[in-house]
C-alpha cells in the first residue's frame, strides 16, 4: 500500500515512515487548537496548511486529509 501523502510504502495508518509523525502530530494537536479557538476539524486542517510554521510533511498529510475528507478518527466523509 502506498502512503496517502507520497509514493513511499505505507505502514499501519496508511502513512509512510516520514509522514506518520506528521499525522500523529495533526491528530494530537487538534485538541489544543479546538480548546484555543473553538474551530472545526476542517477549519483546523486548512489553518495548518496555511501556517508557514507547519512542517512540510505535516502539511502534506493535512492536504491529503482535506482532499480525502479524512476525519480525526480516521474515517472519511
Amino acid at each position: 500500500m502506498k502512503c496517502k501523502a507520497c509514493s513511499r510504502e505505507a505502514g499501519e495508518n496508511g502513512y509512510c515512515e516520514l509522514h506518520i509523525k506528521g499525522y500523529q502530530n495533526i491528530i494530537e494537536k487538534y485538541n489544543v487548537w479546538q480548546k484555543a479557538m473553538q474551530i472545526s476539524w476542517k477549519e483546523y486542517l486548512s489553518e495548518i496548511v496555511k501556517n508557514p510554521l507547519t512542517g512540510d510533511w505535516a502539511r502534506e498529510v493535512a492536504e491529503s486529509m482535506i482532499e480525502s475528507g479524512e476525519k480525526q478518527d480516521g474515517t472519511s466523509d
Binding site: 515512515e17 516520514l18 509523525k21 506528521g22 500523529q24 502530530n25 495533526i26 494530537e28 494537536k29 489544543v32 487548537w33 480548546k35 484555543a36 479557538m37 473553538q38 495548518i48 501556517n51 510554521l53 507547519t54 512542517g55 512540510d56 510533511w57 505535516a58
Partner: protein, 693 residues
C-alpha cells in the same frame, strides 16, 4: 661529514619558526633537498630542521581493490600510495630520509597532541629507519623564541608512546568504519543505478548526521499551536514602556479576550518592586570549541574557518596552541610578561595598565583540562605582517578574552515591577550594569542590552496608554547551526577537538546537509534511514562514546589497542555483512535520493511565467551549452528560457530577487567575485541600473 641533530616539525611554517628560535644568530640557513625546503641552525651543534606536510603516512588496505568490502586487513603506507592527489609526498619522504641519514640525534618537534604525535612518530619510524625509539620530544604551547628555546633545553627523553598508540587506534578504527560503510553505501547505489556517487559515513559522521536528521524530522513533522501574548503600554514619567502579562502564553482566545476587556481603559497601580543585584564572574579562557562558538556568534565564521585562522595565528606565534580543550591558564605562561608585551599595542595599553596595577593577577578558569596544553592565550607578540580582517578579529577576540579573565566580576541589577491593572498583574523588567568589571575589557563582544527604568515607588499609579493582544504560534525546534552542532558533539563527547569541524564539513561536501542552518537533505535522511535500519549500533551515540572512552583509556590506563580494534571489528563485521546482503534494496533507496538531489541542485525555482513548471538548468542537445528552461516545455505548456554564462559554477539561490521576487542564481567564476543573476528582463533593479548608466 659531521653529524647533526635532526628536528622534524609538522608544517613548513613551524620549521622556520623553530630554526629561527634555535639558531644562535637568529639567521638559520634555508636550504632545499630536491625542492623540499629545510633549515640549518647553528647552536651548540648543527641542527637540521625539516618539516612534514601534515600526515605523510596513512592507513591503507593490505591488498588493493578499490571497491572490495569488507576489508579488515590494513597497514600504514606513505600517503602517495593510497591517495592519487598526494604525489608530492614521495619527494618529501625521500628528502627527509636523505637528511636523516647523516643525523645522530633525533627530535620530534611536531605539535604536542594526537595528530602531531602520529605525524612525528610515523616519519621517524618509516622515513628515518626506526628512529622513533631513540628520538627525543620537544613540548611547547607557543612558537615564541623563549618557549622554543626552553623546550629544546628541556627535551622529553622519548616520544609519548601511550598518546601515539591511542592516536594510531583512532586512525585505524576510523579507517575500518569509513572504508567499509562508505564502500557499502557507494557500491549499493552504483550497482543499482550504474552511476558513481561518493557516499560516505563513519564512526563520528553517522551520529553527527543523526543529530541533524532527528531535528529535521521534528521540524518537518511539526504542527504549530496558537497562543496569545498580552502587553500593556504604560506611561511612567512621560516615557512609554511595554509591560508583559504575567502569564507569558495565554492558551485560549477566550481567556485572552477576557483579560484584554477587563484591563482596557483602566489605570495601573505599582504593587511591588523587586530589585536584585547579582555578580557575574568573567568568562573562562577560550578552549577551541568555545572560541569556535564565539567566532560564529559574533562574526558568523564556521568552526572550520575559525580553525584555519587560529592555526595561522599560532604559526605566526601570536597565540598559543589552539587545538586544546583546556580552560586553565597556569602561572607558568607568565601573565605579567604577556600583558606587558600587549601594552606595546596602543589599543590595549590602557587595559593592560589597569591589570598590571592590580596587586595580584588571578585568572578565572573553567573546569575543563587538557594534559598537553593550557587554554588559548595571546603570546603578546605583535603581528609581523598585515593580518587579514578575519585574523585581526580573532586575534583581538583572544586578546580581549585573555584580559577579561583577570577582570573583576561585573555587578548587575535587575528590577521587576509588578503593575496591577484591574486585578491582572503585568510585569515590567529592567536591567542595568552597576559595575562593569571584566565587561570593560571584553566590551565590544558582550551582548547585553540595558533597559533603564525611571524611579518608581510602590503604590504609584501609572497610565495605561494601550492594551495589545498578539496572536502567536509555537515554533518548531531550531535547526542546528555550525556552532550549535559542534557544541552538541562536544557535549556527547563524539569526535575530537581537532576533527569535529572537519566532520561537519564532510556532511556538507556529501550533500547530506545544506544551508547555514543545517538542513538535512533527502539524501542525508535516506543515508541515515539505511544506517538506522541495517546497522543501528554503528550510529548510536552510546556506542560511539564508549569507543571514544576506550580509545582514551589506551592513553591513560593501559588499555590495549588490539582489544579496542577487535571490539570495533566485532561490531562492524555483522553490520557490513547485513548491508551487503541487502545492497539491492539499499541501492534502490539511495539511488532515488541521489537522483532527486541532482535534480534539486539544478532546480532554480518556480517558473514566474506559467507558475506551475520549474525553472531548471538544462543543456542543449545541439550545442551542449547550458541555459535555463521551464520543465513545462516538455509538456508543450511553456517556452520560457533564459541564457546562462557558460563558465563558472551556477548555484541556485534559495531567496528570490529582492527587486521582483523572480528566482535567482549565483555565478562563481575563477578570478571574479561571485555575482547574482535575476532572470526578469523587467526587474526594477535593472531599470534603476540602466537609468544610472
Amino acid at each position: 661529514m659531521e653529524k647533526y641533530t635532526f628536528v622534524i616539525t609538522e608544517k613548513p611554517d613551524a620549521a622556520h619558526r623553530i630554526a629561527l628560535a634555535l639558531d644562535i644568530k637568529e639567521r638559520p640557513k634555508k636550504m632545499e633537498e630536491n625542492g623540499v625546503p629545510y633549515y640549518v641552525a647553528e647552536r651548540d651543534r648543527e641542527i637540521v630542521v625539516v618539516s612534514a606536510l601534515g600526515h605523510l603516512y596513512t592507513v591503507a588496505e593490505e591488498r588493493k581493490g578499490r571497491s572490495q568490502y569488507p576489508v579488515f586487513d590494513f597497514k600504514w603506507v606513505p600517503r602517495y600510495l593510497a591517495e592519487k592527489s598526494a604525489s608530492q609526498i614521495r619527494t618529501w619522504i625521500e628528502a627527509i630520509a636523505k637528511l636523516a641519514k647523516n643525523a645522530d640525534t633525533f627530535i620530534d618537534a611536531c605539535d604536542y597532541d594526537i595528530e602531531g604525535s602520529i605525524i612525528g612518530y610515523s616519519v621517524l619510524k618509516y622515513a628515518c629507519d626506526g628512529k622513533d625509539q631513540v628520538s627525543k620530544r620537544m613540548k611547547y604551547s607557543t612558537l615564541t623564541k623563549e618557549e622554543l628555546e626552553k623546550s629544546y633545553a628541556e627535551l622529553l627523553p622519548h616520544l609519548d608512546f601511550a598518546l601515539i598508540e591511542a592516536g594510531l587506534a583512532r586512525h585505524e578504527v576510523d579507517w575500518l568504519f569509513g572504508i567499509n560503510l562508505s564502500r557499502a553505501l557507494t557500491g549499493a547505489a552504483r550497482n543499482w543505478s550504474g552511476k558513481y556517487t561518493t557516499l560516505s559515513t563513519g564512526r563520528v559522521q553517522g551520529p553527527t548526521l543523526r543529530f541533524v536528521a532527528v531535528r529535521e524530522k521534528a521540524i518537518r513533522s511539526f504542527v504549530p499551536t496558537p497562543y496569545w501574548e498580552i502587553t500593556a503600554e504604560v506611561e511612567i514619567d512621560g516615557k512609554v514602556f511595554e509591560a508583559q502579562y504575567e502569564k507569558e502564553k495565554v492558551e485560549t482566545k477566550h481567556e485572552a479576550d477576557a483579560v484584554l476587556n477587563t484591563c482596557e481603559d483602566k489605570d495601573g497601580k505599582i504593587e511591588k518592586i523587586e530589585i536584585k543585584q547579582s555578580q557575574q564572574p568573567p568568562p573562562p579562557p577560550f578552549d577551541l570549541g568555545a572560541l569556535q562558538s564565539e567566532a560564529y556568534n559574533l562574526f558568523g565564521y564556521t568552526p572550520s574557518r575559525t580553525s584555519k585562522i587560529v592555526q595561522k595565528l599560532y604559526l605566526d606565534a601570536l597565540i598559543s596552541y589552539p587545538r586544546t580543550s583546556s580552560q586553565k591558564l597556569p602561572p607558568a605562561i607568565n601573565y605579567e610578561a604577556i600583558l606587558k608585551n600587549l601594552s606595546k599595542a596602543s589599543q590595549y595599553r590602557s587595559f593592560t595598565a589597569e591589570l598590571l596595577a592590580c596587586r595580584e593577577l588571578k585568572p578565572r578558569e573553567g573546569n575543563r583540562e587538557d594534559p598537553a596544553h593550557p587554554a588559548i592565550y595571546p603570546t603578546g607578540g605583535l603581528p609581523a605582517r598585515v593580518l587579514e580582517d578575519s585574523e585581526r578579529r580573532i586575534l583581538d577576540l583572544v586578546i580581549r578574552r585573555f584580559m577579561a579573565v583577570f577582570g573583576e566580576p561585573a555587578l548587575k541589577q535587575s528590577m521587576k515591577t509588578h503593575i496591577n491593572i484591574n486585578g491582572h498583574r503585568f510585569l515590567l523588567n529592567g536591567r542595568q550594569i552597576l559595575k562593569e568589571g571584566w565587561i570593560h575589557f571584553y566590551e565590544p563582544y558582550v551582548r547585553l542590552k540595558e533597559i533603564m527604568l525611571p524611579p518608581m515607588e510602590e503604590g504609584q499609579t501609572v497610565t495605561v496608554k494601550k492594551m495589545m493582544l498578539i496572536s502567536k504560534f509555537t515554533k518548531p525546534p531550531p535547526r542546528y547551526n555550525p556552532s550549535s552542532i559542534l557544541r552538541r558533539m562536544e557535549e556527547t563527547e563524539i569526535g575530537t577537538k581537532a576533527t569535529r569541524a572537519e566532520t561537519i564539513q564532510t556532511l556538507y561536501d556529501r550533500k547530506y546537509v545544506q544551508g547555514e542552518k543545517l538542513t538535512a537533505t533527502d539524501l542525508g535522511l535516506e543515508v541515515l534511514e539505511v544506517m538506522e535500519k541495517y546497522c543501528p549500533t554503528v550510529i548510536s551515540i552510546k556506542f560511539t562514546r564508549e569507543l571514544e572512552e576506550e580509545m582514551n583509556r589506551i592513553q591513560t590506563s593501559n588499555q590495549k589497542k588490539e582489544e579496542v580494534l577487535a571490539e570495533a571489528v566485532g561490531i562492524l563485521k555483522p553490520a557490513v555483512e547485513k548491508l551487503k546482503k541487502n545492497q539491492k534494496v539499499i541501492g534502490e533507496q539511495l539511488s532515488e535520493a541521489i537522483r532527486k538531489a541532482r535534480t534539486d541542485e539544478r532546480t532554480i525555482g518556480t517558473c514566474p511565467i506559467c507558475k506551475t513548471g520549474k525553472l531548471t538548468i538544462l543543456y542543449s542537445r545541439k550545442t551542449g551549452k547550458r541555459f535555463v528552461g521551464c520543465t513545462n516545455y516538455f509538456k508543450g505548456l511553456c517556452k520560457t528560457s533564459f541564457p546562462l554564462p557558460q563558465r563558472g559554477i551556477i548555484k541556485p539561490l534559495a531567496k528570490g530577487c529582492r527587486g521582483c521576487g523572480w528566482p535567482t542564481v549565483q555565478v562563481l567564476a575563477k578570478g571574479r567575485r561571485p555575482w547574482t543573476i535575476c532572470f526578469n528582463p523587467r526587474c526594477p533593479l535593472k531599470e534603476g541600473r540602466e537609468k544610472k548608466e
